[in-house]
């Protein structure tokens, strides 16, 4: 039987506010345990939550960027359950009435096709603290620094049909929240993570299969692997005569498999009800319009502009706009170069990205700045050096930090375009290889390559390739 995979993602993006969603505590990552938890975060008797307006603005930014409806009135509810890292015994979260509803996001698939993914909702909520089970001699430690950190939970429609689509969608959301400067996107620190709802059904069947929810996936690779594993597990189960049960599962990255965490029957009854400590969140036109006016150019708009104005392919434009910083770098190179976007794009996606990846750096930390790269590319454009030599120069720039011109000058890499110099090299090669010359002239055409190589070698690779070809053809012909 042929199977179709159905996936919906719930992405948790930690909002980049300075203080927590309902208290004035700082949200900075990595502080000593419990040093960023005040009485409100600790759930002390008598304290009350006060909503952080910045978190609301960020949710609105996201909503507008995805063409969603911004609820003029949304409601914070209490999700009740006991756990030591949940100080109040309930989490404040928007439940029945979220602030953002009905958005969409377009993703670009590997085969070049585009697909619209629905965003059911995005709602504001507070994060819980952390339970630390190691290093306490059989006891557990509680760190409440994270308790009360604002999250935007972004829930997709079950529109995704493969692990690859899920990753493309997640990456696109990741790109978007960083463009909007509402989330730092740091997955190691848990600022951006997701739960995946996965089910399978026979191709052509209208109703969904029973789904399993895989919790807390914090890398794109894990999302892809966990979904692929889960899809295979479900298909094997059904084909073996079994049934998928609705449950929550955990992905174990070491074993590359998902494991059952709790079944539907074991699920908590969270007893949601509107939080009486918080008034319904009212959002006026004024706020919406001021947020709209301040929206940056979004990745899709930028990619379209790169296609239209720079003549880039959809794929290249997509790669370059994946982060606002990379796109900015690329644009600076084009500007420094005064055009020649295709050359700039190739270098930014090729040599530059390769060097960044190799050294594990962000584009902001690049050892070769945009102006410096533009300086190098200008030397290709004006035929001072060949593309091949340019790669050598780039490596030198990367390690030595000097400009392209300095390196070209110091290493004498300037391309030879002087006809007589090239002719001298050719004459020399012809003189030292009389046998090959005779064979070539007797009809062995493929020896032409041999002469190109030898002549290039004689000029230390600096001869202008086009000129060399032309002169060589003439001279060899006698």
């Amino acid at each position: 039987m042929e199977w179709e995979t159905v996936i919906g993602l719930e992405i948790h993006a930690q909002l980049a506010t300075r203080s927590k969603i309902f208290s004035a505590s700082a949200t900075a990552y990595g502080a000593a345990p419990n040093t960023q938890a005040n009485l409100v975060d600790l759930g002390y008797p008598g304290v009350l939550p006060v909503l952080n307006g910045e978190a609301v603005t960020m949710a609105v930014r996201f909503g507008l960027a995805t063409g969603a409806k911004i609820a003029r009135r949304s409601v914070f509810a209490r999700k009740n359950y006991f756990y030591p890292d949940l100080p109040k015994g309930y989490q404040i979260s928007q439940y029945e009435r979220p602030v953002v509803e009905d958005g969409t996001l377009e993703i670009l698939l590997e085969d070049g096709t585009r697909k619209i993914i629905g965003i059911t909702r995005a709602h504001l909520e507070e994060d819980a603290g952390k339970s630390l089970h190691e290093d306490f001699h059989g006891l557990s430690g509680i760190d409440l620094n994270r308790a009360g950190t604002p999250l935007l939970e972004i829930v997709s429609e079950p529109d995704l049909r493969s692990a690859k689509e899920a990753v493309a969608y997640m990456k696109k959301i990741h790109t978007l929240v960083r463009y909007l400067e509402i989330c730092d996107g740091n997955m190691q620190e848990g600022s951006f993570r997701c739960d995946a709802n996965v089910s399978v059904r026979p191709v052509g069947q209208a109703e969904f299969g029973t789904r399993a929810e895989i919790k807390n996936l914090n890398s794109f690779r894990f999302v892809e692997r966990a979904i692929n594993y889960e899809v295979e597990r479900q298909i094997d189960l059904i084909e073996g005569g079994g049934k998928v049960v609705q449950e929550t599962r955990l992905y174990d990255p070491d074993r590359g498999e998902t494991r059952s965490m709790r079944s539907k029957e074991e699920a908590n009854d969270y007893r949601y009800f509107p939080d009486p400590d918080l008034l319904p969140l009212a959002i006026g036109e004024e706020l919406i319009e001021s947020v709209r006016a301040a929206l940056p150019e979004l990745p899709d708009e930028k990619a379209a502009r790169f296609g239209r104005d720079h003549g880039l392919s959809a794929y290249d434009a997509g790669v370059l706009t994946a982060s606002r910083e990379l796109a900015g770098y690329y644009e600076s190179v084009v500007q420094g170069l005064g055009g020649n976007a295709k050359l700039a794009a190739n270098w930014v996606m090729g040599e530059l990205s390769g060097a960044l990846n190799r050294d594990g750096l962000d584009v902001a930390q690049s050892r070769v700045g945009a102006a410096a790269l533009a300086g190098l590319l200008a030397r290709i454009a004006d035929d001072t050096i060949s593309g091949k030599i340019a790669k050598e120069v780039f490596e030198a720039m990367w390690t030595e930090g000097r400009s392209a011109d300095e390196i070209i000058e110091a290493k004498g890499l300037k391309q030879i375009t002087d006809t007589s110099a090239i002719e001298r090299a050719i004459d020399e090669v012809m003189a030292t290889n009389p046998q090959q010359l005779a064979d070539y002239r007797a009809g062995k055409d493929k020896l032409f390559g041999f002469f190109v190589g030898q002549a290039m070698k004689a000029t230390q690779g600096k001869a202008n390739p086009a000129q060399l070809n032309e002169l060589l053809k003439r001279k060899l012909g006698g």
């Binding site: 600790l42 759930g43 002390y44 008797p45 008598g46 304290v47 009350l48 030591p84 100080p87 015994g89």
Partner: protein, 488 residues
């Protein structure tokens, strides 16, 4: 000195007829002598009181300070006090010292008051007789065999017995007004949002409101003025101007439109109580008020509505008492579940557990719509009834409680009977309206004079009017000046 009102004490302090220290020492002496038999206080803060009094005297000597500088007060033990134990009358918090002051505590402190101590109450404010306290029941100064009402029973007994001229209270379903009625005090529950809830340990957040118990409406005006106002730390507090309640006390009764609530004169109302309430209404009519009957048809549903909404909220509010960060923790827990179960099992009393279980049930999947959601709808109907009535009249009026103070233990075995004691007070909480109870006479039972309360409810933010009507009534009557025998 101890039977003087706050207004009289304030005048005496400013005239230097006595110092705050003399006054405070006198009241601490009375508390030491008389409070134990009433069990009115959980914590007496003598050292703090003397410090506060000395500081007040310094200011008064320099001609500084406001109307309340040097006036001793007591706080219900539900308000967090920085460095002083705050128990909520629960074993759960018997060791809890808050690291901060509630806004109400801050406000009264800033006004120059002297803190005498923290008063007894029903555990987590859940009760109508002050019998659910972990620290034992409070006795009514008018008859020690009877309850003072609840949940602000300690505050009521302390003020009625002239151990303190005024005390704070909280009112979720009548917890200021009913004890005021049962102990011959003036007790006001302001509009929901008028007074900050920050630092007031939550019972039912959408109903809880802080207020004050005093021996006159004028005193209530003074003290409410010092606690009311917007607080950015409480999202439900209202950013609206606080009127000069004292200045507005002079508003005459003439032209006042009074609506007598038909539903309150039901078969549950003790005839003696009903008669005194009617007489009080006649006093208002005789002095220029027009009186008509109004009907609030949804009001009889207020008790069942309340006993869905309040437990639902309390079941969630009390989840934070889990033995992890503060409060009672059981000995040597085996595991997390054991820690939760025993800490909470040991820390909470029966009435609190009953309400947590009721609240958990009404919020459960499959029951939410039938109970919680329906109760919220009825709540809107009740609020709509009041709103309709306030289209015709300025205040609605009736008894505060169906009976005078009842005997200790008389209703403890049957929670429903106990709950019905709040039948006349709950409506104002459900609708978020301000309401006041004032003394309107005495009935005699077993050879004892037992006070009866008259209740007035007004539209949102009509505290001024409620206080002025009460004050004008108190100019015409002297019920409020009577002090229980033995406490004169």
């Amino acid at each position: 000195m101890h039977s003087l009102t706050v207004a009289e004490l304030a005048a005496g302090l400013r005239a230097r007829r006595f110092s705050s220290l003399e006054l405070t020492l006198h009241l601490l002496g009375r508390i030491e002598r008389l409070a134990p038999e009433l069990n009115a206080f959980i914590t007496v803060t003598a050292d703090r009181a003397l410090d506060d009094a000395r500081r007040a005297d310094e200011r008064l000597a320099k001609g500084e300070g406001g109307a309340l500088t040097g006036v001793p007060i007591a706080h219900k033990d539900i308000f967090c006090t920085d460095g002083i134990r705050t128990t909520c009358a629960s074993r759960m918090l018997s060791n809890f010292v808050a690291p901060y002051d509630a806004t109400v505590v801050q406000c009264w402190r800033a006004a120059g008051t002297v803190l005498l101590g923290k008063t007894n109450m029903d555990e987590f404010a859940m009760g109508s007789s002050n019998e659910t306290s972990h620290y034992g029941p409070v006795r009514n100064p008018w008859d020690p065999a009877r309850v003072p009402g609840g949940s602000s029973g300690g505050s009521a007994a302390a003020v009625a017995a002239c151990l303190a001229p005024a005390a704070s209270g909280t009112d979720t379903g009548g917890s200021i007004r009913q004890p005021a009625a049962l102990t011959n005090l003036t007790g006001i529950k302001p509009t929901y949002g008028r007074v900050s809830r920050y630092g007031m340990i939550a019972f039912a957040s959408s109903l809880d409101q802080a207020g004050v118990l005093t021996r006159s409406a004028e005193d209530a005006a003074l003290l409410l003025g010092a606690m009311a106002g917007f607080d950015p730390r409480d999202s439900t507090s209202v950013d609206a101007l606080v009127p000069d309640y004292v200045a507005e006390l002079a508003t005459p009764l003439a032209g006042l439109r009074v609506g007598v609530i038909r539903e309150f004169f039901d078969k549950g109302l003790e005839p003696g109580v009903g008669k005194l309430v009617q007489e009080a209404i006649e006093v208002l009519r005789a002095h220029g008020a027009t009186v008509r009957e109004v009907s609030l048809p949804a009001l009889p549903l207020s008790v069942p509505t309340y006993y869905v909404v309040a437990p639902a909220e309390c079941s969630s509010n009390l989840s934070r008492f889990d033995g992890v960060r503060f409060g009672h923790r059981c000995e040597s827990p085996r595991d997390l579940r054991d820690l939760y179960e025993r800490s909470r099992g040991e820390g909470f009393g029966d009435e609190v557990k009953r309400r947590i279980m009721t609240g958990t049930y009404v919020l459960s999947a499959g029951y939410y719509d039938a109970y919680y959601l329906k109760a919220q709808k009825v709540r809107q109907l009740i609020a709509a009834d009041f709103a309709r009535a306030f289209g015709e009249v300025d205040v609605v009026i009736g008894p505060t409680a169906p009976t005078p103070a009842f005997g200790l233990g008389a209703k403890t075995s049957d929670p429903i009977t106990m709950y019905l004691n709040d039948i006349y007070t709950i409506g104002a909480n459900l609708a978020g309206l301000p309401a006041i109870s004032i003394p309107c006479g005495f009935v005699s039972e077993d050879g004892r004079d037992l006070p009866v309360g008259l209740q007035l409810v007004g539209p949102h933010f009509s505290e001024s009017r409620l206080l002025s009507v009460s004050h004008q009534y108190q100019q015409l009557t002297d019920w409020h000046r009577r002090v229980p025998p033995g406490y004169e």
